[in-house]
Amino acid sequence: MECLNCGTKLQQGDICPNCGMDVSVYKKIMHMSNFYYNEGLAKANVRDFTGAIESLKKSLYFNKKNIVARNVLGLVYFEMGETVSALSEWVISKNFRAERNPADKYLRELQKNPGQLEAINQTIKKYNQAIAYCQEGSEDMAIIQLKKVISMNSKMVRAHQLLALLYMKEGKYENAAKYLKAAEQIDVNNTTTMRYQKELREQMKNVKHKKEDKISYQSGNDTIIQPSHVFREHSITSMVINLLVGVAIGVAITCFLVVPSIRHNMVSDKKAEINEANSTVTTKEQTITSLKSQVKDLKKEAEKAKKEKEASAQRLTSYSKVIEAYAAYIKEDTQTATAALEQVKTEDLDETTKAIYDQTNTELQTKMMDTWYAEGTKAYNSYDYQNAVANLQQVVNVDEQYGEGYALYYLAQSLRRTENLEKALPYYQRVVELYPGSERARTAQMYLDQNPGAAGSTGGSMGSDAESTVTETETMTNTN
């Protein structure tokens, strides 16, 4: 036992050894809680569940943290078919003590079997439906539902009691007695069961008295009841007359009472069957809806997992391509490095790898530009203008001012010399704009003046005139 003020473990005395508080009242409260727990346990052991619940509730009223009392209360509820109340007690118990608590085991046992939990819930729903039928006055339907409830959960005391009550109301005392006995076997001292049994005994006594005043016998499917002390005539004529009258009455009863009654019973039975079928259909529909929802959720999850897998594969590819590009770059295999880098998606990379990617890409680009420019100028000097265009075009696409604008200028020259004057003119224009006053600008301007408005029709002859001028005036310069 711990002090309620400071939490120190208490000794035999009434004073807390740590904070000096008087704990005599607190100790009495704890003793009372334990006393009622013991009482409740003793009652539960002899199946006096009503008494046990009362004692255990008292125990918890004194000490709500009495874990054993709360767990036993849950077990008693569970034994009486009150599963939700049992669950509530165990959850509260677990909340008070999370470690080494038997309630944890009880809850796990229930959660481990979702089918059992679903069956319990279905039982409760049917029980509630039976109550609704009672309120609507459909007592025959309520009886059907309650029979189902008891077949699914034979421990549910309240269902037994309600069914017995309905049978008593209908005058079916033997059935009522059967269900009250079952309820008594589950919970021996239940006051409601005992009250109903007392009522049942009185009702049956009255019926017995009435029976003694009558003579009843079976005639086919009918029970014939007649007073025991009646005047009887024994002459043959009166016997015949009585016989005829009896036959006439019998025919009349058959026509006006028995046949409609049989029809009415058949209609009632059919109605009950239809209601039962409807109930089954509703349950199945609920199950189907639930399963459909599960399938939908699983499909979504599968799709999400597939997307994540694809994204992971893409991310992995990007990383491997960065590594491949870096390895190729180290070996100075620029083509492989460039090809690898082109396949990288930068959004897949983390910051460190992105920095490696950027550095490799920048260095590679610089190297490629140098290579293209060297190849281009070499081709230009060897009069291989097609090749020169191919290489210099790549340089200019990235940086038009590369090599102080010589790449741009030689590209224009190469294009002009491959009979592509129209394509060359915009590059000449850029040379004039970027490097005004240079020899290149003057030459470019000359070609622009010779081809005003980029007229393709005159380009050929003018180009050939200009060519001699350029070859004379320009000296090839490789800045790199």
Partner: protein, 49 residues
């Protein structure tokens, strides 16, 4: 003699498993220890005054 109509009215719907949370929330958790603590607190407050 039981009044069947009145007796039937005493039967209330049982809470379903989905309603267990609500049942726990509505559970009155006050015990004698809480009352004792409250009384001690009141006594301390009065002494301070």
């Amino acid at each position: 003699m039981i009044d069947f109509e009145e007796e039937l009215k005493k039967y209330k719907p049982s809470p379903e498993v989905e309603e267990a949370e609500e049942t726990i929330r509505n559970h009155d958790m006050t015990d004698m220890t809480d009352i004792l603590l409250e009384m001690m607190q009141q006594s301390r407050n009065e002494k301070r005054r």
